[in-house]
Symmetry: C2
Subunit: 415 residues, 2 copies
């Protein structure tokens, strides 16, 4: 089973927006066992849209179309589809009711262009758009499926996931495909690959492994294909179990977990609290932690001590430490972690100090040198890293490494 | 003059990577006056690449091809192009020398697959890749230009900017096009449009305006087309001058400026210092400020007072304020701003307190309610906002609004 994606909109061609819809759709289709074989972007121009539809029809069984469904004049996808399929535009009462409801909730008047949102080609089935006024449309023509959706990502995503996928599953029979994502950190891709080499070599042919690296993290995705869902699930569970035996210390979560979510979950479960003292990470750890809803139950706050005088005044770092070891040192981050834990009266604390660059590096402490300290009521430890010479990456890597070091301390996982 | 973009690679179709190259190229081509009329993505499959080339040749004068130039077997773009143009692969000595140099610098052995990087179709001109081993290629066939470049964004960008653009300018004559970007904030797109409506209506036909909205900001881009560069520049300067008269208070910078860069520049120039006290923004302001290299010269740090007890203990907020006005109040952020300025001994301070959600909202203070305070040695002021019901956006909008409020206070710009 294969698919083609057509994205419509001048704003895509001129590069005003980056097309993230196509890659999201590619991933979602892949999970169902549908291969995307071709992608096309055209402007809001009738003939170009028709040419793209004709070309796609020759190649693919499922044609996904996004964009060009807005209420303004430049959006012509709907009328073009109607013409392409020799259909005619009719008013859809359900859509009209929904659009009217949206506008009345926002206390806005319905104007003609909004009524137009409820007009659809007669030969389509409407796919409900719970997040907006432009309905999705499903055309089943000679066993080719054309699905038209708005270009706004969150509208498109819910229409595709909630409306289109169930209809596709009703129309076609798909193989059983099961995905499991294992989230790892504090280990690079090549080292990880070496650690699980034998395990990977012994994977059966119907279960594939993908390495999906991101800054400071590598996701491992297992994709199993088969016919018996229960059996496939058992196989994958057994493989994941072995993976935990091999690299359990580096696995911080599964599926959509992030380190900040996992740390928050652990602290909530254990009813423990956290504070941070950040120098080189400049508040980014605090930002990651507080980006998680509900973080106020376990996170008390941070002192971002960008200036050394703040380290002295607020975090008990002594002139002596700064003079002998320096601000980027084991002594300094340990002192910072210990002080903030006591000062903010929390169970745990994180501290960072380093040289994010581009300036400030020396021969002994080059740009990228970072000390990370973690502290509990029992112990305060610190570790040295080199995070590379890109300021942005250094900040991000430092924050994620710090969260993982805390996770390991709380769970009693040795390095 | 028009162009078409072909991106090649299975990883694009399955959605493993997001294609950012095409939008970057779309923007760069647009700046030169070249319209992108079509974009295609195909996998690493010979026939699909050939079909895409044939289709593109019919539509466009310039065909830009990215991807599929790596040293591994799945990358077939180069051989396919050679075959497509009835050429043959030959060794390019200059490329070989460059590739050899790269490998010797990294102390890596040259293996066959690296030698292959120096093989190119005989009928192409090599475009030097200063950032990698895969050369760019320029084919001039029957007055159609085919440019093949690697898919790695920073390699592609330098080849296009440094090698392809000069060659395109030599081959074709382009109109003079001048772009100016004006960065505005603290005003929504529709309000901005109303404020500059007359100015916009009076723009001459050869100068176009684009609204480029982002979270908390709207960029205005003027694109002038003409033949006389000096005259066009003067025209645009005059228009920009009028724009400053109309909405000067909302203009914080031009071109690639960000609020954090601009605030940093102002503080540096005036030799002033800054501290922050963040509640709902949770360290994100500190992160934005410290993401700018050199920020340690004017930024001393932050207290992220996520828990109320920290507001009391560290920022002089009284039980009385919390009981009567609450943590999300004018009194509270003013106290926070004032305290952190004195505590960290800075010239200026920012404070935030609000309800980022999804929980914690009340009828009087719904999710999105945010107070922002700014403080100098002369005065401390605070303003109330509603940032909407999305946690991530609320944090981002709060941070940018706070930076703009500080900018206005320092520069003495009234609301």
């Amino acid at each position: 089973m294969n698919a083609e994606i057509i994205t419509i909109g001048d704003e895509i061609l001129i590069g005003q927006i980056i097309d993230t819809n196509s890659s999201w759709l590619g991933q979602e289709l892949g999970k169902m066992g549908i291969s995307v074989i071709h992608r096309t972007s055209v402007g809001d121009t009738k003939q170009d849209i028709i040419d793209a539809l004709n070309a796609a029809k020759k190649r693919a069984t499922i044609i996904l179309i996004t964009g060009g469904l807005g209420p303004t004049k430049d959006d012509i996808t709907k009328n073009t589809l109607s013409e392409y399929f020799n259909s005619k535009m009719v008013l859809n009462e359900k859509v009209l009711e929904w659009v009217t409801q949206i506008f009345s909730k926002r206390n806005l008047p319905m104007i003609d262009s909004n009524n137009f949102q409820a007009m659809v080609p007669e030969n389509c089935e409407v796919l409900f758009n719970k997040n907006g006024t432009a309905p999705g449309m499903w055309f089943d023509i000679d066993d080719k499926i054309f699905i038209s959706m708005p270009g706004v990502p969150f509208e498109m995503k819910s229409i595709f996931a909630d409306e289109a996928i169930p209809k596709l599953k009703g129309k076609f029979s798909f193989p059983v495909i099961i995905h499991r994502t294992i989230q790892t950190c504090s280990i690079g891709e090549s080292f990880l690959a070496r650690r699980i080499e034998n395990w990977e070599n012994e994977l059966p042919a119907h279960i594939k492994l993908a390495y999906l690296p991101a800054v400071g993290q590598v996701r491992l995705r297992l994709s199993g294909h088969g016919t018996d869902k229960t059996k496939l699930n058992e196989e994958i569970n057994a493989l994941v179990k072995k993976l935990y035996e091999l690299i359990g210390k580096n696995i911080f979560g599964e599926e959509e977990d992030t380190l900040q979510k996992v740390v928050g979950r652990i602290l909530t479960e254990k009813k423990k609290t956290l504070a941070t003292a950040e120098s080189c990470s400049g508040g980014f750890i605090a930002h990651l932690i507080t980006s998680v809803p509900g973080s106020s139950t376990y996170y008390k706050g941070s002192i971002v001590s960008y200036a050394n005088e703040i380290k002295i005044k607020e975090l008990g770092v002594t002139e002596e430490i700064l003079k002998t070891a320096g601000a980027v040192s084991e002594e300094c981050v340990k002192q910072m972690a210990d002080s903030i834990r006591k000062k903010f009266d929390t169970d745990y604390a994180i501290a960072t100090s380093g040289i994010a660059g581009p300036d400030g590096g020396t021969k002994e402490k080059p740009v990228g040198t970072v000390w990370i300290g973690v502290s509990s009521k029992n112990e305060t430890t610190a570790q040295l890293y080199n995070m590379g010479d890109n300021r942005e990456r250094t900040i991000e890597r430092t924050a994620l490494q710090a969260l993982d070091n805390l996770r390991r301390m709380i769970l009693g996982i040795a390095k």
